[in-house]
Each structure stands twice: as C-alpha cells, then as structure tokens.
Amino acid sequence: MIPGPFNYHRPATVADAVKLLASLGDDARPLAGGHSLVPMMKLRLATPEHLVDLHGVEGLKGIRRDGNRIVIGAMTTQHELLASDEIARSAPILHEAALLIADPQVRYRGTIGGNVANGDPGNDMPALMMTLGASYRLEGSSGARDVAASEFYQGAYFTALEPGELLTSISIPAPAAGHGYAYEKLKRKVGDYATAAAAVVLTMASGKVATCTIGLTNLAETPLSAEDAARAVIGTGLDAATLKKAAAAAEAIMSPAADARGPVEYRKHVGGIMVTRALTRAFARASS
C-alpha cells in the first residue's frame, strides 16, 4: 500500500495545466481530491509518473447561476456542494446524493470534477448528471468543447476525455420549479459504493407524470440512462402496474458485475427496487 515514485506539479492556470498535461503525455494524470486516484496508486494499480495537482489552478472552484443553468467548477468539493444554498434550492437531488457519498472526510477532499471524470461505475455523480441533462466543459491544448454527460461515458474508466484535456466545469439546466426528485442508493455501510442506485427527476401535470428521467449507478460498466423505464411512467399516475413495468424496463438494461455486494441477479433485483422507490418518492415530492 505504498505508491511508486512520481513527479509532482502544481500549475496556477488552466492554460499551464493543459500545457503540462499535453507535454507530459500519457504518463501524467490530473490530481483533484485524490480520493479515487491515490488509493489506486497505493495499490500500484495506477502508476502515473507525473501528478498535475489542480488545487493551485485559478477559477476551477465555485457554484454559480448562469441564466437557467447551474455551473459548478470542477474543483468544487462534495462538502461545498452540500453547503451551497444554490444547490439546495435549484438542484436538491445533488444535495441528497452528495450526502450518500462516502463519509465527511472523503467529502471534504473529493471533488465533483474528479467524481464525474473518474469513470468508475461506482461513482454516484455521473448517473445524476445524465439524469439532469448536464454537460461537461473540457479544455485542452486545441481549445474548449462541451460534451453531454450522456455522451461522456464509454466504459469502465474510459471516457470522452482526450489525453491532455481537463474537465473544468459542469453545467446543469436547472430543473423546473416544483419538480420531483429522489436518489435511492442501497449500500452495505457508510463509505461503500452502491450495490445499486437510481436517480429520478420528474415533473407533473394534472396528476400525471409529464416528464421523467432515470439514471442508474453501478449497474453496468458505465452509468445508465433508463429511457424505456422513464417512458413507461410518463402520462401515468404511477400505479402499481406502471411501477412494475418501469422496474422491469430498467432491469432489462442492467448488467452489473457479481462482487461481494452480491450476485448479478441480486444487484439487478435491487436495482429495480431502487428505481421503484426513487420513482415513488419523486412522485410524492412533485407538485402538480
């Protein structure tokens, strides 16, 4: 549990960071909170020769409102997310989910940028970002681009980030006023990644579900958007039969790995239950 040797860099601007990453190539990795990267280094599963620490980089922190979008700097910690009135007001599902990530110590260090850029299927924020329709701003030596969260994840630890690119901020369209939301996460204990988790954001019109998105965490190599399941509930009053249909549709796209959290069948089964529970809770919260 001792990492191998590495060089440490601490740039002050995004431009410098990007330049460093470009010149150092594949052997360099950005370092944010370090709570995913450093454990991997201690096991020598990750052996970067260069760490580019983002803590000194200006302008990567903070939460602000930009019209009807919420913009969160990549280096904003989970703790800062939890402390933010803006988040509590406009995207309370982020607040609910952040509280279910690890423990206070990890949340003081771990960043939202690291969480979404990491590409670990166990991370909670990616499915949420897909559910909220967020996009990520990526900056590299050839400039900046925006990639939708739904386009970003390609496989376990495999994302749309090009070598040398940094994720600098996350932009989330503010969910409609009166929306219903819920994040249901089954875990074995505090500090554990999800056995299965589901995020739901929905709106209502005259007692029926008007819009709905559903995201799934740790139920496949990448976060999933359960589109068929979401379609199944739109236009309904979320009766028992609909819930069952939605859970079945969600289960159909799950392909979790068997691990100490349980065999595949169990994880899919509770995945369906998390969807049911999240839908029920979101529905109860939404105002028509």
Binding site: I2, P5, R188, K189, A260, Y266, H269
Partner: protein
C-alpha cells in the same frame, strides 16, 4: 471527632476501588493522540522491511531473482528462505505443535504468503524493491474446500509432512489431515440417540473471519552486536512468551532478549502468535547491524496473519418429546489453512471447544474434531473469545433453537427447561469441565422481563400474519442466546504454552509516601488494565487507585506472565494482583501492630488502614504504614513493602449471560434493522462497571459485524477476495445498533475477588443472538438453518429460496 473527619463513605470513595466507575486513566493519552505505539518508536539508522508475497494460493517456487531489486536506491538486502536456512530459521515452530515456513521454501501454500523480505532505508524504497524481485512460480491445483481436503485425490499440500502418520496431536488419517480430537463417551451418547424420542441434526458453519485490530501487527528489532542483545518492540499480547520463543529458536540467551510491548491498538487474538515478520526483522537486524522495522498494512493483516473460526460443525441433539435434552453429538471439520498455527494452549488442538454442551444439563455427549490443511492463510486464533469458545457457543445456541423449532416449543422455554440448576454447581459437564458457579434461570427470566419477551412474541405473530396477508414485506425475528463461557486459562493441570504453565503474575512495590507501582505479566491492548488493576489494589490495601501506577509489557521489569487473551487477565492476573496485595497487607499489619504497640491479632482492617479492635480511635493508615516500612519496621523484619505473586488458578471461571436481539428484515432487499439488542452479563464481581459496559459494547459490535457480514472469503481458485475494509465488513457507529446492557452477579467461588472476566462474553453470546434472530425471522417460512454471514444479499437469497417472490 470534628466535622472535618471524613465519613466511611468518603474514605471508600477516595480510593476509587472495586465497583467504582473510575474513568480510564490511559484515555488521557489515547484521546489526545499521545500514546506510544510500535510505529511511533523510531531509532537512529532504522531500516524498513516488507514482503514479496505470493500471488498464487498453491505453487512451486522455481526461482527467486533479486538482482534488479538490489539495484533500487535504498534497498540493502533481500532475504529469502535460502538466507534463513543459514541460521536455521527458514521454518519456525507454531504454538500448535506444527511448523510454518517463515519464507517460501520450495513452495507457497496460500495467496499472499511471505516469499522474500526486502530491507531498505525507507518503506518506499522497500516497496519499490518488492516490485523488482522476480519470482518464477509453477502453479499447482489449489485446495480451497475443507470438505474436499481428505478426498483420495486431493493434492498434497504439506510435502514436508509426507509419510508422517503422526502429528503433534496423534494419528493423521490423510496427507492433508492434521489431527483428530475426541472427547466424551461415544457408546453412551450413541445409546442416548438410539433411545431418543426426538433428534435434530444440522451442519452449522462458522465462517472464516479476522480480528482486524485498528493497529496491525508490527515490530522493531534492534540487535546490539557488541552486547549480543536483541531488543524487540512489538505488538505482542504475550511479551514473555515471545521472549522465550525467540530464545528457543534464535538461540540467544533469554536474559539478552528484551521484549517491549508499548501501547497496543487492539489485539483480539491477532497479536498472540509469532509471525514471519518478527523473525525476518530480527534476522535482518542481526545481518545488517541496524534496527529493522516491519509494519503490516491492512491487506497483509487481513490476508496473512491470523484468521479466526472456519469451523464446520455438525450438531445433533437427542431429546424427549417434552424437550428434555438427553444427548449431544458434534463433529467439527476445522479448516486450519496451510499451517496449524492456532494459538491454543498446547495440549488443546481445538481449544476448549468441549464447552459445547453450553448452559444445559446434557447427561452425555461426544465430540470429534478433525483439523485439515487447505490453501488458505494459517491462524485459527481466538478472536475476542476464549479458545474456540465462540464456535462452541454458536453451535449449541443454534442447535437449541433448531430443536425448539422441531418440538414446536419457544426457544426461551426450551432453554429454561434444560439449564444446569444453581444447586448443581460445581457442575461436572459431560465433556469434562467443572463449571464454578451460575444461576442461569434468574438471568434468563430477568432478560425476558426486561424486554417483555411475551409481548415481542405476540407482536411477531401479528407481523407474520400481516406478511402472509401481503400487508408488509418485513419479517421479524427474535434471537435468544444464553451462553456459558470458559475463560481464565488456566490451571497448570490442564494448560500450558510450549510447556510453560499458564499462571499469571503481579509485583507490587509501595513507595514511602503511600504510592506504588504494580507490574503484571499481562498486556492491555485497550482493555483498560491501568485503570482496573489499580482499583483491585486500592480496595485490597486502602491506597487510592490514583496513587498506583500500573505498568505492563516490558519483559525486563514485569514478572513472567502468559499475557492477555482468552479473557484470562482478570481471572488469572486479577487473582495474582489480589494475592500480592494481600501479602503487602499482611506485612503492613505487622508494622502497624508494632507501631500501635498491640498484638497483630488485635488489629482489624478498615477501608484504608488498620484499627485496634474495640478502640476505633486507635488507627494507622496504610499511607503511614508505607512511611514506617522505610524507617521503623519491627526488629528482625526487612525494611520495604513489596510483594510478588504468581497465581496458578485452581479452575477456569465460567461467565454467562442472556442476550436477545430483535430484528426486522425487508425480504425484497435483504436489508435488516436491529430494532433492539439487550445483553445481560454475569461476570461475577464487577471491578469497574463502566469498563465492563465498554467491553460489552465493543464485543457486541464485533459480534454484529461477524454475524451480519464480516468474513474472509476465498474464491474457487483460492484468491482471497476480502482484502480491504471496502469488502471486509467493519461497521461504523452508523451501522452499529444501540446496545442495552444489564447484569446479575454470581461470584466465582474459587477466585480471590470472585471475578470471572467479561471482555469476550459479548462476542461469544452476541453472534448466536444475531444469527438466531435472522433464523427466527425466516423460520415461519419453512427454513431450519441459514448459514452466516447474514449480509443483505444472502438474506435476499434465503427469502428467494423460501419462495417469497412468487
């Protein structure tokens, strides 16, 4: 008397003696981060050692090449079995009479086995070196399932034992067999089963787990070439035993070995044995002439040093239709891993598992234990329990519930019907123990009244009906557990470690001003000895506990003792402390008589000194006697006031308790909630009620962890898959249930202060309470026994197999 004269109550209170909820004195340094643990000890020029470990569970080691490793800056040496052979230390003896490879000698027998020891100027360099050692392996078929260990075609694990038909504990039946241990009357027991009206039989597994103390195993060895002396700082639960073992295997004269166990961050049995790290660090220090430190990381701790349990117990009970037990038959298949490194008293290959008759009056019983080798880590330590007692308690407490279910009787009623009665003590059990004292029915009834047992059963019946009507997806279980422990190893007539009787010791020295220092052969790992030991002395000799300093863990200053594990400290060293204190008091009485100019027999003890019988004003306090001991002792008496006692207990002590767990389980997810947990403990005389409560809380939390998910698991290929706290269930304050504690007091008749020991009771009694709760919850759906651990997915699987998802 003027108003300032303290009352008797005030004089007693000031002592903070037995029965006082005295705050733990050691916590002042622990809570401020000022303790001194092994890793805090840093010596000039100190080197660091770490292991190359085997990725294979079973393989031949073809070659080890250290050339590239030795080129890593800072790496000074790579020690292999070949190096160790030059000092005859490639193998070491185990406490169980087996031998164990220190470093892989031709073969590896479990994943993460120690293969080579890299010594470097710091830990980073050592780990860089590890990555450059090239080991060529030829994988062999792994043997993972203990039930297949004695198959005719099972691979031979221990080639060093090839052809040996006798082991340390008698005949071996197969090349992977270690021992068979039998106790009891087979014929009588078989006859009881032939005549029985009702019988039950169940294979009850207690899975492999690990003590996983917060601080891992570690040591710092420093060999002084000039003096020929070896000093070892280490996480040792039994420092003197370590000194003797080192003297025997390293051939260093024992007076030249100094073993120091500083503050220890939890042991739970993990720190009783001797590990390759100790040997390698000592050899490395001798070879390099520099101090060498070895500190295990968490993965190494969980996967190489000392697992616990792994007992597969087939239990049978014979009974009458009315529920009176008439016989017990148990066979155990014990998975010992690659080497038999159990830390039991030497003549007890399955520890005190023959306490398996529990709290019940079995007229006859028979027990057979077969130990086998598998490709898993060695160990088999007593994880917060006396030797194999928690396995035994789990076995009988599950079996009694299964019998109750078969008879259609309430499990609490069945227990009450079969308890050993108070008038039967001292009670001779069918498997050879003499229980010292107990009042089981009183404890059981107190538990049942405290939790409104009848009311809970009624609630359960209603909830079951609601479940059957489809109104709830939650089921409710009541887990009753009534355990009897056997602790305080032990009497020299039946207990020794490597030939050393399992006595313990205390030395007390009183200083002139009425203060003193006391040293013991035990070693606290968090139990609070510095607090409680002083309380015993305070009551015995009337000096405030605050004026007594307790010191343990330095073999140069402490009297020889066998250490702390198996709840033996209070039963054995606690007795030695009282006996040493009484020697002090006896001499003090002679000094007081001389000073008060009366005959010794005219004095009586009164709280904190002596008074002349019939003349209550004529007194001499212990404080004043201490002073007098250094200037005016009676003619012919040696000055000073000190005493030492080595206590060989006449018997074990037998703490007991009544526990109940109330649990709700959501069948859809398998998620459980412990609604209530009540633990009544009877540990005899209570020295410090607050510390007892703390011990009970800690032990229950470990029991909860074990029963509900904490396991060391190997996959079919022999890979250990629970090597970190991500997967090895370590509950936090969030998961741990709320604990309600209670007590009765039935003193031990043979112990000087009547104390029995408590540190391990909650682990022993807790595990069956949790498991019985889960099993009780599911029983109405038609199950008789569900194996531990009861984590979420396994609860879901049980529900599924019982057909709740149709």
């Amino acid at each position: 008397m003027n108003d300032m004269t303290p009352t008797r109550e005030q004089r007693t209170a000031v002592l903070e003696g037995m029965g006082c909820k005295r705050k733990r004195v050691e916590d002042i340094r622990f809570t401020q981060g000022k303790g001194t643990y092994v890793d805090d000890v840093k010596l000039p020029g100190m080197l660091h050692g770490d292991f190359v470990r085997s990725p294979h569970p079973h393989a031949r080691v073809k070659s080890i090449n250290s050339d590239e490793a030795l080129k890593v800056p800072g790496v000074l040496a790579v020690i292999t079995a070949e190096t160790l052979k030059t000092v005859n230390l490639a193998w070491m003896p185990t406490l169980a009479g087996d031998v164990q490879m220190v470093l892989a000698d031709g073969k590896v027998l479990f994943q993460n086995q120690e293969v080579a020891f890299v010594v470097a100027t710091d830990r980073y360099a050592a780990d860089d070196g590890i990555n450059k050692v090239v080991v060529e392996y030829e994988p062999l078929p792994p043997l993972v399932d203990p039930f297949k260990a004695m198959d005719a075609d099972a691979p031979m694990l221990r080639e060093d034992l090839a052809g040996k038909t006798t082991g340390a504990h008698g005949p071996r039946k197969h090349h992977n067999h270690i021992f068979e241990w039998t106790v009891g009357d087979k014929d009588l027991t078989d006859a009881a089963f032939r005549k029985a009206e009702v019988t039950i039989k169940e294979m009850i597994s207690y899975h492999r787990t690990h003590p996983s103390p917060l601080e891992t195993c570690q040591c710092l060895c420093s060999f002084d070439k000039i003096k020929g002396e070896l000093t070892i700082w280490g996480t040792f639960q039994a420092p003197h035993v370590i000194r003797t073992v080192v003297a025997l295997i390293a051939k260093i004269p024992e007076q030249k070995i100094h073993v120091i166990a500083p503050d220890i961050g939890g042991g739970f049995g993990n720190k009783v044995g001797a590990y390759p790290g100790y040997i390698c660090a000592a050899v490395a220090s001798i070879v390099t002439g520099k101090p060498v430190k070895w500190v295990e990381d968490r993965i190494e701790n969980l996967t190489s040093t000392s697992f616990a349990r792994d007992y597969h117990m087939t239990a049978e009970i014979a009974a009458t239709k009315e529920g009176k037990v008439t016989g017990l038959r148990v066979h155990v298949l014990a998975d010992h891993g690659a080497f038999d490194a159990c830390a039991d008293p030497s003549k007890w290959p399955a520890g005190f598992f023959n306490i398996v008759t529990g709290s019940y009056d079995f007229p006859t019983a028979h027990l057979a234990v077969d130990g086998v080798y598998t490709n898993k880590a060695p160990g088999g330590v007593a994880y917060r329990c006396s030797f194999r007692v928690t396995e035994a308690a789990y076995c009988i407490e599950r079996a009694m519930d299964i019998l109750a279910q078969k008879l259609g009787m309430d499990p609490a009623e069945l227990r009450l019907k079969n308890f050993i009665k108070p008038e039967q003590f001292p009670y001779h059990s069918a498997l050879g123990w003499e229980y010292d004292s107990g009042d089981y029915a009183t404890a059981m009834r107190k538990m049942m009244e405290s939790v409104d047992y009848a009311g809970l059963r009624k609630q359960q019946a209603e909830k079951r009906a609601a479940f059957k009507r489809g109104e709830t997806r939650e089921i409710m279980g009541l887990g009753v557990s009534f355990f009897t422990e056997i602790v305080g190893a032990g009497p020299s007539k039946n207990c020794d470690i490597l030939g050393i009787a399992m006595f313990d010791s205390c030395e007390i020295r009183m200083h002139p001003t009425g203060a003193g220092i006391a040293r013991m052969g035990t070693k606290s790992q968090g139990q609070g000895h510095e607090t409680t030991w002083a309380q015993i002395i305070a009551t015995e000799i009337g000096i405030p506990a605050d004026n007594i300093m307790v010191e343990e863990g330095n073999t140069d200053t402490a009297p020889y003792g066998l250490g702390t594990y198996g709840s033996r400290s209070t039963p054995v060293a606690g007795a030695a402390i009282a006996m040493a204190a009484r020697k002090i008091r006896a001499k003090a009485q002679m000094i007081a008589a001389y000073k008060l100019e009366v005959h010794e027999d005219d004095l009586e003890w009164d709280i904190d000194g002596f008074r002349v019988k019939g003349l209550p004003e004529k007194t001499m306090s212990m404080k004043d006697i201490c002073w007098a001991a250094y200037n005016s002792v009676p003619p012919g008496m040696e000055p000073g006031l000190e005493a030492v006692s080595y206590y060989d207990p006449p018997n074990m002590t037998y703490p007991f308790g009544a526990y109940i767990c109330v649990m709700d389980i959501d069948v859809d997810t398998g998620v459980y909630k412990v609604r209530r947990f009540y633990a009544l403990d009877d540990c005899g005389t209570r020295i410090n009620p607050m510390i007892i409560e703390g011990q009970v809380h800690g032990g229950l939390t470990e029991a909860f962890a074990i029963a509900m998910g904490q396991e060391i698991r190997y996959d079919d290929e022999g890979n250990v898959v629970t090597g970190s706290f991500m997967d090895f269930f370590m509950p936090t304050a969030v998961e741990a249930p709320h604990w309600e504690t209670d007590f009765t007091v039935t003193p031990s008749p043979h112990h000087p202060i009547g104390a029995k020991g408590v540190g391990e009771s909650p682990n022993v009694g807790g595990v069956p309470a949790f498991s019985n709760a889960v099993n009780d919850a599911f029983s109405f759906l038609g199950s008789t026994h569900i194996q531990m651990p009861h984590d979420f997915w396994r609860n879901w699987r049980a529900a599924k197999e019982l057909g709740v998802f149709v």
